[in-house]
Structure formats: structure tokens, C-alpha cells
């Protein structure tokens, strides 16, 4: 089965990260499995930020963790700087994947509560197999870079820090290893708006100063638009649409992307307030045939149940997997 297509891949470029036919499945009970990611293809260029957008349960975290091989995907390929990660053994994998780091949604619980900031930040160096000379100086520099006063936080434990400070520690930990790719899984979802802005600005700054490429996973459309160059919309493990982030709110045409946009509170001011019947995400154990979005799609037809849509190009950098929208639906100007 062909996933959702590959036309959006930029064959002429040298991607930092390249993912092909990625499948992540979790066995449940004896015969069933959760189809978390079903044939994902993507490429990430140097200095680029790719936003991955979708509702809860659509497979964003499973994909991000599969890039990291934590755990490795059910099948498919993950190339980091041309190295196939899925075939490496633990020791080689640790070294290769140091170039790719991940930060998680819940910063407090992703830090060992018993360790102090200094050790938390240094942790990566030993885990990933680097010996540091002048470790403390590097830690100080990195703490500074993420906006923490080394003297103030040096000996603190996670519970003595705010959520935003914990997220800064997580970013510092990741930056210590001088990665080229940073995977951010909902890094601001649990933070207050004012702190969210601080962390988003910090990620933008770190990206420039550390020459990073980012994969930014989130469910918040406005946040994704603000930080990304390119956005990929996922639904139940499949790619719906890929487009330049600058056009996310104005040119997206996939019915699912439109639904996400229509759900942004700020966009609904004065809009319809009719009570809509509840809709449910179909079970990932038995996703709908054809287009997985068809059970919630206002445009669905028989063809959508019979045939899976494949990504097609609608315009420069704009790709959509849907039987019933095409370039004519893209608003111009």
C-alpha cells in the first residue's frame, strides 16, 4: 500500500532528515493493532522548520519518536545526514542520533526529579557517549543561551523550577550535544501564554545560533504557523496536506485542514454558533477505508470510501491528498 504519496519530497535537495514509508503500529490484544502512522514520507532541509499539525491521536508523537528510534518504527526508513538509522545497532545508533534531539510536551516529567540542573544538562554527554573536557564551562554557556542564570539554577531540582524554566532546561540538554535536528513534540502546549511566547522565541533564536533544523509537532494552528516554514497536516496517521506555512490560513484546501482552521477560536468570532452534533475520531484499530477522513468530511463520496487519495501538487510547495479539491479551490491573492 502506497501511503499518501511522495510528490512533496524535494529530490534535488540534500535533506538533513529524510523519512520514507514510515509505519508505526502497536499490537493490541491478539489480532488487532493501532495504526498510528501509516506510510509517512517527509524531508527536512537544513535550516528549515517543518510543522506537523493534527488532532490528538493522529500519530504526531508516534512519528516523532519513530524518527528518534524510540522505539524504532514497524517499517520504513529514517535517514539522518544520509545514515539509515533503522539499521544501526545500539552503540552506533547512540552516536549517530546525537545529531537529532527531541524535547517533549511535559517538561517537568521528562526530567529526573532527583537530579540537579547542572547534572540534568550534562546527562546527555555521557549517555550519548561524549566525554567532555571543560564540561562546566559548556554547561554555563548553554544555560545562558536558553535564558537561565547558571548561578541561580545550577543546584536546583526540577520541582524548584517553573514549567517554563524546566522547558528551558530540556532545550539546554538537547543543545549540549550540538544537534543539527531538533524534534519538538508540543513543547509549549502545557505552558502559559506568556511563557509560551518566551519558549517560541527561544526556539527561533536557538535555531539561528545553533544552525538547527526543526520538526515542530503541535495541535495549535496559530503556533505552528508562527514557527514553521512548511506545514504537514496529519490525520489518523496519513498526510492530508503539505504547504508553505505563510499560506496555511489563506490557501489550505484539504477539508481536514479547513476544519482545523475553522476551529481556531479567534477565527470564529461572530461565526456560526449552531449546536453541531458531536463527531468522533474513528478508531485507529480499524481506520476507515479509502480516505481516512471520510467519516467526518462534508465532501465525502463513494469514491472516498473506495480509493485512497494520494498527494498531488496544486501549486508551488502545495500538495494535497483529496479526491475532490484541486487547484481551482485554492484562493488566489
Amino acid at each position: 500500500m502506497a501511503g499518501s504519496g511522495t510528490v512533496h519530497l524535494r529530490e534535488s535537495e540534500q535533506p538533513v532528515l529524510s523519512v520514507r514509508d514510515l509505519v508505526v503500529e502497536f499490537p493490541v490484544g491478539r489480532r488487532q493493532k493501532v495504526h498510528a502512522v501509516s506510510g509517512l514520507n517527509l524531508d527536512l532541509l537544513a535550516g528549515e522548520t517543518l510543522g506537523i499539525l493534527g488532532e490528538s491521536g493522529c500519530g504526531k508523537s508516534s512519528a516523532g519518536r519513530a524518527f528518534m528510534q524510540m522505539p524504532p518504527p514497524t517499517s520504513g526508513s529514517v535517514l539522518l545526514h544520509g545514515t539509515e538509522l533503522t539499521r544501526l545497532r545500539s552503540r552506533e545508533l547512540r552516536r549517530a542520533r546525537a545529531k537529532m534531539q527531541m524535547i517533549m510536551q511535559d517538561p517537568v516529567s521528562s526530567l529526573n526529579p532527583r537530579r540537579r540542573v547542572r547534572d540534568l544538562v550534562a546527562e546527555g554527554l555521557s549517555i550519548w557517549g561524549f566525554e567532555g573536557e571543560d564540561e562546566d564551562r559548556l554547561i554555563r554557556e548553554t544555560l545562558h543561551a536558553v535564558g537561565l542564570e547558571p548561578e541561580v539554577v545550577w543546584n536546583r531540582r526540577p520541582h524548584e523550577l517553573s514549567g517554563g524554566q524546566c522547558q528551558r532546561v530540556c532545550i539546554a540538554r538537547a543543545l549540549m550535544l550540538k544537534p543539527s535536528v531538533l524534534i519538538c513534540d508540543e513543547p509549549v502546549a502545557s505552558l502559559d501564554v506568556s511563557v509560551q511566547a518566551q519558549i517560541l522565541n527561544l526556539l527561533e533564536r536557538s535555531k539561528r545560533s545553533h544552525l538547527l533544523s526543526l520538526v515542530f509537532i503541535a495541535h495549535d494552528v496559530a503556533v505552528v504557523k508562527n514557527i514553521s516554514d512548511r506545514v504537514m497536516v496529519l490525520y489518523l496517521g496519513k498526510t492530508c496536506e503539505v504547504l508553505p506555512s505563510a499560506h496555511l490560513d489563506t490557501r489550505a484546501v484539504h477539508p481536514y485542514t479547513r476544519l482545523l482552521l475553522a476551529s481556531v477560536p479567534e477565527a470564529t468570532e461572530g461565526g456560526s454558533r449552531q449546536t453541531q452534533p458531536a463527531t468522533e475520531l474513528p478508531s485507529p484499530l480499524d481506520p476507515p477505508s479509502g480516505c481516512r477522513f471520510r467519516t467526518r468530511c462534508p465532501l465525502a463520496t463513494d469514491r472516498c470510501a473506495a480509493e485512497e487519495p494520494v498527494l498531488r501538487e496544486l501549486g508551488p510547495g502545495h500538495f494535497v491528498a483529496c479526491h475532490h479539491v484541486d487547484a481551482a479551490h485554492v484562493p488566489t491573492a
Binding site: 488532532e55 490528538s56 517553573s162 517554563g164 502559559d192 501564554v193 506568556s194 511563557v195 509560551q196 511566547a197 518566551q198 517560541l200 522565541n201 527561533e204 495541535h219 495549535d220 494552528v221 496559530a222 503556533v223 504557523k225 508562527n226 514557527i227 514553521s228 516554514d229 506555512s245 505563510a246 496555511l248 490560513d249 476544519l259 482545523l260 482552521l261 475553522a262 476551529s263 481556531v264 477560536p265 479567534e266 477565527a267 470564529t268 468570532e269 461572530g270 461565526g271 456560526s272 454558533r273 449552531q274 449546536t275 453541531q276 452534533p277 458531536a278 463527531t279 468522533e280 475520531l281
Partner: protein
């Protein structure tokens, strides 16, 4: 008092738009100088510290603020879920329909819950018993509060589920809470809250735990029902986007106090309190260009057991001056040109139009006199 300045013959007050709900009638909810203090081993936590509010039938007010600003404690104290106890102090008054919630005996207070005031929480499981069927939750409430017979209660339960947009209600009443999705559970909780047609609904982060698409459905549902039932609503959220466009008025909370309160559009278009302004500036907007630098508020909210003296926002405020660190700004100073807009700040962002100068013609005069060259 000094005589009115002559300029005020030209009334600066624009004909009041329909925002002024219940300007004449006695408000449904009157909160006066409410203070909720928790006595903890670390000291007294002044979670709510001098809040006053008015709310009329059918009116919706949004309460926004960051984590720890006291939104939930305010909601629970209004409801009477938090009341004076060994370690809890409640000062000031809350009147719902003229009845002083905290002066009532506990039993009487409980009788307000349902027909007078109901609450919806962030986590629907707070209000649901995992071992009870959906139908039982509803029929028990209906029989207890409204004295309905078994058959009538069962019929009404189905009606309520239909009202909150739950498909196949006859099948749902036999299900247990865990068999429903989060969004569906929250709809059940709303149906429960509405079972006795409360006059006031307090919704505390009702959609924070839900998916974006479901969030919109639930907020739309709350809005429609409030309108249809002429119910007053307090919508508590840390998300300004949720509050905008869905409320008549907004109260912005910071460290247990209301920093600014006004008609929703006024707060979003012309925030006058430096905190409101900074908070609005820090939201990433869909209309921003990618990579736009967001405005940030440096520092963290204060520790509520040792809040700073004077204005609580002073340590983070870019406009703070000496007086701010010494003297707390009066909490409910209405603006001269808009009695329903009040700001607790010594130096609000726009000068009040008829401040000392007696110039009631806000800014206009300036732009006319001070022409080019």
C-alpha cells in the same frame, strides 16, 4: 465633589451599545470585595484578593489569567464549593439572586446547586461517577432536585442529551462514562449541569482538555444554550482566544485581583492595563507572518504566599514607576468615558480623556490643533 467640567455637556458617553446587559435590573450575581485566603504551613495564600463583579441574566463574562492567578478559586468561592473552614478564610460577599451564598447554612447552600448555580470543570470525570451509567447520572439529579418520577426523568434525560448534541441518546444512557470520548463526556456534564435549568453557569476551563475541533463544538454549544435558556455564564479560561468573541465582558485576573474589566471588544482592541496589553501581545496569531517575534512578559507571576507590595504586576511591568511598588492601584476605578471599563493601574496605557486637564474630548482636540508644520 468638584462641579462637572463644562465640556461634559457634550456627553463623552456614546449611546451605550447592547453590551450593557442588565444595567437597570438587579444583577443576578453580585460579588463584592471577595477574598479567599488559604492558611498553609508556608503562610497565608491570598488566592483571591478583593474581587468585585456584577453579572445579569443572559450575560456572559470571561475570566482570563495565567495559571495560579486565582480563576478556579474565584469560581469555586462564588459557587460556594469553597467556604470558610479551619484553614480557609472567605471575606466579602457573593449574592446569587440576592441570596448571600456564604451566609447560608451548608444545607441551604447545597440547595442552590442545580437550580441556581451549576459548574462545569476541566476534567469531565470530576463530575461523573465511573461506575454509574450516563442515564443514571441524569435521572438521579432530575428526581432529586425536580422531584420527577422515574418515567418522566428518563424522558427528560433523553431530551437533555439531544439538547447537548449527543447522537443516539437512547444507546448512550446505558453506557458508562469510560465508553465515551472526552468531548462526549463533557457534553454529558453540560447536560447534567443544565438539568435543573440553573440561572448561573460557571464553566472552569471546560474545553482545555479537549481537542481543538471538539473545543469549538463545546464552546458553541455553551453559547447557544446560554442564549436559549437566558442563563448567565462565567467562562473561565487561560486562553484568550476562547474568551474573545464568546463573551460580553472580560475580567483579566492577575495574582488574585482583577487587573482590567470591560466589554470584550474593548479589552481586545484597546487594552489599558499593561498586563492585558502584554498578554494579548504574546499570543501567536494566525494572521502573523511566520517567524514573527512574539512579545514576551519577562519574569514569572508572584508566589501568592508572598506577593510583592503595591501593584502585583510591578516586578514585570515595563511601565512601573516608584508609586507602583508602594501603593496598590485601586481595583475598580471605572473610566470616565466608559463606566463599565475599569482598570487597576496607576498609569493606564491611554490617559483618561477628562483627567486633570478637564479635556473630555479624548485625543481628538490634539489631532485637530496639532496639525502638520
Amino acid at each position: 465633589m468638584t462641579p462637572e467640567p463644562p465640556m461634559s455637556q457634550e456627553p463623552p458617553m456614546t449611546p451605550e451599545p447592547p453590551v450593557t446587559v442588565g444595567s437597570t435590573a438587579t444583577p443576578l450575581l453580585e460579588v463584592d470585595d471577595l477574598r479567599t485566603t488559604f492558611h498553609t504551613p508556608r503562610g497565608a495564600v491570598r488566592a483571591v484578593d478583593g474581587v468585585s463583579l456584577r453579572l445579569s441574566a443572559g450575560e456572559t463574562i470571561g475570566v482570563v489569567g495565567e495559571s495560579g492567578s486565582g480563576k478556579s478559586v474565584l469560581g469555586r468561592t462564588i459557587m460556594g464549593l469553597i467556604s470558610a473552614g479551619p484553614a480557609t478564610e472567605v471575606q466579602g460577599t457573593v449574592r446569587i439572586g440576592g441570596r448571600d451564598v456564604h451566609a447560608l447554612a451548608p444545607g441551604e447552600r447545597r440547595r442552590l446547586w442545580g437550580p441556581e448555580v451549576a459548574m462545569v470543570f476541566q476534567d469531565p470525570m470530576t463530575s461523573l461517577n465511573p461506575t454509574k451509567r450516563i442515564g443514571t447520572h441524569l435521572t438521579e439529579t432530575l428526581r432529586l432536585h425536580l422531584g420527577l418520577r422515574r418515567g418522566a426523568a428518563a424522558d427528560r434525560a433523553i431530551e437533555l442529551l439531544v439538547q447537548v448534541g449527543i447522537p443516539e441518546p437512547r444507546r448512550r444512557v446505558r453506557q458508562f462514562p469510560h465508553e465515551l470520548s472526552g468531548g462526549m463526556r463533557q457534553r454529558v456534564v453540560i447536560a447534567l449541569a443544565l438539568a435543573c435549568s440553573p440561572k448561573l453557569l460557571i464553566a472552569d476551563e471546560p474545553t482545555t482538555a479537549l481537542d481543538v475541533t471538539v473545543q469549538k463544538q463545546i464552546l458553541d454549544l455553551l453559547g447557544t444554550l446560554a442564549e436559549r435558556l437566558d442563563m448567565a455564564t462565567i467562562l473561565i479560561s487561560h486562553d484568550l482566544g476562547v474568551i474573545a468573541g464568546r463573551t460580553d465582558r472580560v475580567a483579566v485576573m492577575y495574582a488574585g485581583r482583577i487587573a482590567e474589566t470591560a466589554a470584550t471588544a474593548a479589552v481586545f482592541e484597546h487594552p489599558l492595563h499593561p498586563y492585558t496589553d502584554a498578554l494579548i501581545g504574546s499570543i501567536p496569531r494566525l494572521s502573523n507572518e511566520p517567524h514573527a517575534e512574539l512579545r514576551v512578559i519577562d519574569g514569572n507571576p508572584p508566589d501568592m504566599s508572598a506577593p510583592p507590595p503595591g501593584c502585583r504586576f510591578a516586578p514585570r511591568c515595563v511601565h512601573a514607576f516608584e508609586r507602583c511598588r508602594e501603593e496598590a492601584p485601586p481595583p475598580h476605578e471605572p473610566l470616565a468615558y466608559d463606566a463599565r471599563h475599569s482598570v487597576a493601574c496607576h498609569a493606564p496605557l491611554l490617559p483618561a480623556p477628562n483627567a486633570d486637564s478637564g479635556n473630555a474630548d479624548s485625543g481628538n482636540a490634539d489631532s485637530m490643533n496639532g496639525g502638520d508644520d
